[in-house]
């Protein structure tokens, strides 16, 4: 069953220099209870998608077109008042670890409690304290530390609290935006395990956003690769890793350093992505692409289906279908 269905979503930011199209015509579906990963580098629009799904876009952002179907409602059309019933209750967010996401002047348990009370005002005190205990238990924080202030927690513990906060009302969809960035690898590993464990235990839908393709792969079975505001390739983890098709995915994988792929390093000759202020009208990756042709510089790319679950966004179907590059 489809939990979330995003169709032709475009989001722009009004800036002094003009409209910056951060997300351009994006569509994807998420099945109930499954994780979906978004990977891409800075400025690719991944965070904007996350914020749009929470209805928390900054003031200068506008949804230009498209719809976000969630449980029979189009989230794009919700009023602020309706959004408040969704946020926290049905869709919740795990924020970036580097963010200052906990209010420094309130106790930790209070900050989780208020999330529950807002959506379940009738809950008795006993139930509430049971729920809090269960949540702290779930994310492995000693219940005795519940009444601390955020500054008394370590980075890893703060991140666990943020996870607990997202889980407070048993949401159907959780959005995790770079939940482990800026954490040490050992802590990152623990947090990723935590997220996997929790996701499997309570079977919630999960949108996992990161710049690190391996981190995304460790949590999600399906992956969307983003570049300059567009999804350029999507498929299962296995498809994307074993037979990447889009030249950008190849660059991303080729430049990823891990302990078991040293021989596969391909150094791309890439510059920063194009300026999203202007309407490009052709392939956005063209300037950085090794297999770019004349068509790529003139035409909008289209989707090339490779398997039922795997497709890439490119102007040159032959190149995408045939194996190119090193493969």
């Amino acid at each position: 069953m489809t939990l979330l269905s995003v169709k032709n979503l475009s989001i722009g930011y009004k800036t002094k220099k003009g409209l910056l199209k951060a997300v351009d015509n994006i569509s994807f579906d998420l099945e109930k209870g499954l994780p979906l990963g978004f990977v891409g580098e800075s400025g690719c629009g991944k965070t904007t998608i996350g914020m749009a799904l929470m209805g928390l876009l900054p003031e200068n952002a506008v949804i230009l077109e498209g719809s976000i179907q969630f449980q029979g409602e189009d989230l794009v059309r919700l009023t602020e008042k309706q959004w408040r019933k969704v946020r926290g209750a049905k869709i919740a967010m795990i924020f970036q670890a580097a963010m200052n996401a906990l209010n420094p002047v309130h106790r930790v348990d209070e900050q989780i409690k208020e999330a529950i009370i807002t959506h379940q005002p009738d809950m008795s005190d006993a139930d509430l304290s049971d729920r809090l205990n269960a949540l702290f238990d779930l994310v492995d924080i000693p219940v005795a530390r519940m009444k601390d202030y955020p500054h008394e927690y370590s980075g890893g513990m703060k991140q666990r609290v943020i996870i607990a906060m997202a889980l407070a009302c048993d949401p159907d969809l959780i959005i995790a935006d770079e939940p482990t960035t800026a954490l040490d690898v050992i802590v990152q590993d623990q947090i990723l395990k935590e997220i996997r464990k929790v996701q499997q235990k309570i079977r919630t839908g999960l949108i996992f956003i990161s710049h690190d393709i391996a981190v995304v792969a460790s949590v999600c079975d399906r992956i969307c690769v983003m570049y300059a505001g567009q999804i350029v390739e999507t498929g299962t983890k296995k498809e994307v890793f074993t037979s990447p098709r889009h030249p950008y995915t190849l660059s991303l994988l080729g430049s990823y350093l891990s302990l078991d792929n040293l021989d596969d390093i391909v150094i791309p000759d890439m510059q920063e992505p194009p300026d999203l202020l202007s309407d490009i009208g052709s392939c956005r990756f063209a300037d950085n692409c090794r297999v770019c042709s004349e068509t790529c510089k003139k035409e909008e790319p289209g989707w090339v289906q490779i398997s039922a679950t795997h497709k890439a966004f490119c102007c040159e179907p032959q190149i995408i279908r045939g194996s190119h590059g090193k493969n």
């Binding site: 800075s42 040490d184 690898v185 710049h211 391996a214 296995k238 890793f241 078991d260």
Partner: protein, 274 residues
């Protein structure tokens, strides 16, 4: 741990170095708050190698780098550069040392003065070291910019940091470090703020520079995979102690210390390797 092998030619030797920080003192504090950043470390860096120092935040890796370029002084122990202790250097000798050991910093958005043009930034070491005349300096700057991949150098000469991307800024920072042709460069996480596709190109650049100028590098990183990719030898540092030193290959294949093993285990990667 690091046995001094008389046959080897060490450019940098760290002997029993301890560094303690005293954060803001409170008058009536019962205990003096002190942070032991480094606890008696020994380390030798051979001439011409890229030496990797791998550790997590707070492990003391950045402190080590800062001690080596004398941004800070050790609380105890000695640091020898070309067999000469650097803590005693003063006046002209210190200035000379400054031209021989340079540093590349982590954050490309903070490492360039927004008020200075690229030329002024890269030229500064030449000016303060009184190397060359104004004309030869500007030639040297243009040449160095091209060496670090900012070509044509003239096109970047009069630009300002805010007109450059993160990767380009970091290249300028590298140019500033190599323009005096130092023997030794400390690179403190030079790519951790950059995207992977940009970072890998900088690694390539560092390698090329090492080969062209024959410099010795200390590469500080939290990423074991990056260290393995770039370095000849690696030291793993944990809570102010060096827990293991070995060649890059051996550290990854046969880690001895439990902490190294743990680090290797949690390193993200894809098991579907192509």
């Amino acid at each position: 741990m690091a046995k001094t092998d008389p046959k080897k030619n060490f450019l940098v030797e760290i002997k029993g170095v301890t560094k303690t920080y005293f954060p803001r003192k409170q008058f009536f504090a019962r205990h003096q708050n002190k942070v032991l950043a480094l606890n008696g470390i020994d380390l030798c860096i051979e001439t011409g190698e890229i030496f990797g120092l791998v550790g997590q935040s707070g492990s003391g890796k950045t402190t080590t780098g800062r001690l080596l370029v004398r941004l800070e002084h050790p609380t105890a122990g000695h640091i020898l550069f070309n067999k000469v202790p650097i803590s005693g250097l003063k006046g002209p000798e210190l200035k000379k040392f400054r031209s021989r050991a340079q540093m590349i910093f982590q954050d490309p958005y903070q490492s360039l003065n927004p008020h200075l043009s690229i030329a002024e930034t890269v030229m500064e070491p030449l000016v303060v070291q009184k190397i060359g005349t104004p004309e030869t300096r500007s030639e040297k700057v243009i040449h160095t910019l091209e060496t670090v991949g900012l070509s044509p150098g003239k096109a970047f000469y009069n630009r300002y940091p805010h007109q450059l991307s993160g990767g380009q800024r970091q290249r300028v920072a590298i140019a500033r470090a190599v323009v005096v042709e130092p023997e030794f460069i400390v690179a403190d996480e030079p790519t951790s703020m950059l995207d992977a596709t940009i970072a890998i190109q900088l690694f390539k650049l560092l390698r090329e520079i090492k080969e062209t100028f024959g410099m010795t590098f200390l590469f500080i990183t939290h990423n074991l995979a990056a260290a393995r990719y770039l370095c000849d030898r690696i030291a793993v540092i944990h809570e102010g102690h060096i827990v293991e030193i070995n060649t890059a290959e051996k550290i990854i294949r046969n880690p001895e210390h439990p902490y190294t093993k743990k680090l290797i285990k949690v390193q993200p990667g894809f098991k579907y390797g192509r």
